[in-house]
Amino acid sequence: MSHVPTPTQTYDLSFARWVYGHVDGGDRLALCMQCGTCSGSCPLGPQMDFGPRKLFMMIRAGLKDQVLGSNTIWNCVSCYNCVVRCPRQVPVKHILQSLATVAVREGYPGARETDNARFAKAFWWSAAKYGRTDERLVTAKFYFSYGLSKGYRKSMANLAIAKGMVKARRMHLGLPHKCKNAGELKLILARAAEIEARHGDAS
């Protein structure tokens, strides 16, 4: 009997190559030398399941489902610590956020369920509808995305903060702020969506 193991997986670079070519900043990903500066710099590092460094190695290893299902891509808060410190000038943050978009587009379960994804959705809803973000509406939309009773509890828990913000004139009462020509904004966004869809097809 031979003691030499037979690998069960072959080395498949197709996912990695797709990421290099289609993800924002992916063209520099191959330069990553696995030093750990990014994951060590990240304020959210300890909460991330993998952290950017390991995620990048997983991309190379072809672990598509684990990568796109990971919470690392959703925990990034765009602080840019990793981007300024990476010794290979890999735009870590851009790659994570772009992968998050891919995860949503590809319908990865859980991708829409993370706090960050919910918040991003609420934020975008307000920005697209009013051309502005309305603190109250964004927060409410975010809270109630968890369901009625959970949303209610979250709102009540933060009521004191909201009152304080109103007092400090950081949150307004009354009608939502709107941009001047919401109709034109809609046209711009529709055109952008068209371009994005085309981009997605090409991917």
Partner: protein
Amino acid sequence: MTESTSRSRTILVVGGGISGITAAVEAAEAGHDVVLVERSPTLGGRVAQMNRYFPKLCHPTCGLEINYQRIKKSKRIKVFTMASVASVKGAPGGYAVTVRTRPRYVRPNCTACGDCGRAATTEVANPFNYGLDKVKAAHLPHPMAFPMRYVIDPAVAATAEGRAIEAACPVGAVNLDDAEGSFELEVGAVVWATGWRPYPADKLTAYRWSEMANVVTNVEMERLASPDGPTKGRIVRPSDGAVPKKVALIQCAGSRDLNHLAYCSRICCLASMKHAAYVREQIADAQVDVYYIDLRAHDKLESFVQRVKRDPQVRFVKSKPARIEAGAGDNPVVCGENTLTREVYAEPYDLVVLATGMQAATAEGEVPVFAPDLDDYGFIFPESGAIAAGVASGPLDVSMSVQSATAAALKAIRAVSA
């Protein structure tokens, strides 16, 4: 080859570190006249600033002393210290060179008795110890200086203190009228042996060397460990003089980093093995953690790494630390991700040593207009036709520098013999 009206067979060597000294001695012993020009008050370069040097952990005197003897014996080598090259004109076989000199205020008849130093009261930052301590305005550059001659800081030359220093010299060697000067040379070849400087640690802002006393660089560590250093060879914390029990060595501090030096400085991994050894020899219960991306022990020196690895009190952590934070009791806290375990750590230390790399001395602002072609990092480009020895050509250790210096001597001999 360009026709030149006045041809010279003299070889000029710029820089008197181990490489320049070697090139000069080799060329002279092969029968050529050599002029060796050194900017600082003494030969020896950075090697003189080491505590000991690998591979055999010898004291720098072993390498330097024998070469000083060879210089003294040779009738063909002229040494100029406190001198630098102001201009070079011409082509291989015939160069006109202008050398500019700074005043030393001390004549060759100095016996290095030290009376002038005792008469001096002003203290200046000590470049030999990278500013870790101060020296008298009249001082010997270091115990292994060549020439063995005192130097007086220009700041006191024209003062009452200067006159007191002059009066103190029993052999009348002090010359307060010494001034800047220049002279012309005709040479047939120029060997550039200008070496390196430590990459400025203040640029590594996340490691906070400028703010935190107990974060030092590897060149400072060499001085802390040296018997002729600021602590007489005792490795202690700069903040309080305490003996460090937990020491971190951080590799690639500024090397292999596109934001700093893009290249691998090649010697820092082994220099850190040396530093782990220094600490463990002096402090029996000390723990040393080496943070590395990957250890690059070049050439035949892997055995040294293996020796250090056998010490259970030296731990190797595969991680490039992300940052250093200030902890309690002036302890730097090293933060990052252990890339083998994925653990995100924040580890306090008594002392942190940054393994900063070697930057070409010709980099940044000091490149003379006549300088040979330099690569992106300030090292002399080999294809440019210029002759480079040692670290002027790229990051090398002493033995590789000496090999490159011997090769440079040969190239220079060929150029003047053509």
